[in-house]
Symmetry: C2
Subunit: 338 residues, 2 copies
DNA sequence: CTGTTAGCGCTTTCAT
DNA sequence: ATGAAAGCGCTAACAG
């Protein structure tokens, strides 16, 4: 017999009654143990276990005006990049008593806005949102929000609150430079799901090739459709039909790059001599592909970790000194480029 | 000037006062519009917009004893399989006003139990958990839970409540049969992260090869370490060192299979003649790999969709007639097997 | 160190 | 069709 109330619910008052103290004392024993005498604390702890009391976070949230839920809004749950960030988030909050409410904006500013509104109405402890391209409405909601906010994936000027990411523009420029340095003279850019980050990568590719006098619009193949390995196959086919002389391809991500690699093999291209391939993100498989794949390494786990740590610090009132963290990137050369 | 209270919060009472009715009437206008006269309803709606009133789900949850949050507990957020399920979940709940609290049990029964306890204490509207191998404690928590529960990924006897998945044992048996039917006589099994579902796949492989008189323990290579493409490379290397005569390999999942494919290419194996490769799940890339990859298709999106639909129906009091759905599987033959 | 008093914002009776 | 009263379980604020 663990409890008696008809609802099967043991409340703070029940514990208090059993111990013979007031409810607030039990509450204190739970949240600020130092403020309760040691013996009493023990008696309370004992009774709590005996009765099987479990605090009701909802009641607490009503009075404090805050839940212990951290909202995370990302544009895709199937994209490995976000999955890696999310894993890091879980690795950290596992130690805390925060929960994660995950929202999927499906790359839509409107859905993002709805989610922000929804999440905010639930009084989250903090919010993590992807990217820096929120709608005006979303942005002001977030600015006005009474909880800390971290933007991830990218860095930019004027963060809403805190920010951790890297420059997609710079990363793509560096990758383009890598290809050119390796001697490729007709580099192509292949991308799907042209979200703002992809746009900035394209911009990096464009400006670097222009600077080097190697820009050619026909070697830019993009689509709004979702990214996938199959899409890499398709886009490479397209590239070959409009610019068969392309000698290298910078892909917007590693899935596309894998598709390009498969299709290149199917067409008996010699990689990397006849065709150089560079991915983006350096997913785990890049290192072991055959041939192994050049890619731009991004620090996704660290990004999630830093983001959640900054957020938790801010929630606890200790604002981290650096509210804008640029994690950088690293072009990792492997056998798919010469 | 949208609101006046110092907290910046507009409450039901504010709206009621502005309209000149009681709070409960506003509450009704929101949740049971039919019970309020049309004209009044309009005035209320108007005032709500004017004041920018947003209902407080926390206060509602305190009195109703239920939030509108659906808890989802999966063992991994980076595994594509769960990501696909999750995407489906979002595709459906997007239309509703439910939110998703996502928990990551990291393949640990203990962490799963903690998450269930945590989630349950927050009064979820419903719960989705992966697999059928909960700890005894978790199971009884779930059985006693006052919200509907759906187990996904697998089917088994005695569901906690509802269930949608497929038989991993049968699926692996069918894949093994496929290899044998194709003429392979020394099939191997390669697996990482030996969770219960992997164990049952192994069991399926084992029993089918035994029945056909082709079982050989040395051709079973498994590890508890996490699965990855790189791990596929490693395990295939191990297989080749202990059983170099293996002529086919059934992989526990597609990532491993991709690793095996890469390593086989590196070693200049002729796939599929010299070596047949079969993956599991039929991720998107299987169809476009070079050579394209045989795999066991699983219906992950449908699984997530069915699960969340069943759950929502149950939450709304309309229990679906079929509380146990077996989605089956399909061996998809492609060029990586002859 | 411990208690009293008020409510948080909403919905459930039970009336009218 | 509308309302009054009561309270969900907890904690802030102020005593003592």
């Amino acid at each position: 017999m663990r409890n008696t109330r008809k609802s099967g619910k043991v409340t703070l008052a029940d514990v208090a009654r059993a111990v013979g103290v007031s409810a607030i004392t039990v509450s204190r024993a739970l949240r600020e143990p130092d403020k309760v005498s040691a013996t009493l604390r023990q008696r309370i702890d004992h009774t709590i276990r005996e009765l099987g009391y479990v605090p009701d976070p909802v009641a607490r949230a009503l009075v404090t005006g805050r839940t212990n839920i951290i909202g995370v809004i990302i544009p895709s749950v199937t994209n490995n990049v976000f999955a890696d960030v999310l894993r890091a988030v879980y690795d950290v909050i596992r130690m805390t008593d925060f929960g994660i409410q995950l929202g999927n904006s499906r790359y839509s500013l409107l859905e993002e806005e709805k989610l922000v509104r929804l999440f905010l109405s639930q009084k989250p402890a903090g919010l993590i949102v992807a990217g820096v391209d929120q709608s005006e409405a979303t942005r002001s909601l977030l600015v006005e929000a009474s909880c800390p906010v971290v933007q991830i994936m990218e860095v930019g000027d004027d963060p809403i609150d805190m920010m951790v990411g890297f420059s997609h523009y710079e990363a793509a420029r560096a990758a383009t430079r890598h290809l050119i340095d390796r001697g490729y003279r007709r580099p192509a850019f292949v991308a799907a799901r042209m979200d703002p980050r992809s746009q900035r990568r394209l911009q990096g590719f464009r400006e670097e090739t222009e600077v080097q006098g190697l820009f050619d619009e026909t070697r830019i193949i993009t689509t709004q459709r979702p990214s996938s390995v199959a899409m890499g196959v398709e886009l490479f086919g397209e590239l070959m039909s409009v610019a068969p002389d392309a000698d290298a391809v910078l892909c917007n991500n590693d899935d596309l790059a894998l598709g390009v690699l498969f299709e290149a093999q199917r067409r008996r291209f010699r990689v990397p001599d006849q065709l150089g391939i560079c991915g983006f993100n350096d997913l785990e498989f890049c290192a072991v592909a055959e041939p192994s794949m050049t890619s731009v390494r991004t620090f996704r786990h660290e990004m999630g970790e830093r983001a959640i740590r900054m957020l938790v610090s801010a929630i606890e009132g200790k604002r981290p000194e650096e509210a804008l963290v640029d994690l950088g990137y690293e072009v990792v050369h492997r056998r798919s480029t010469r």
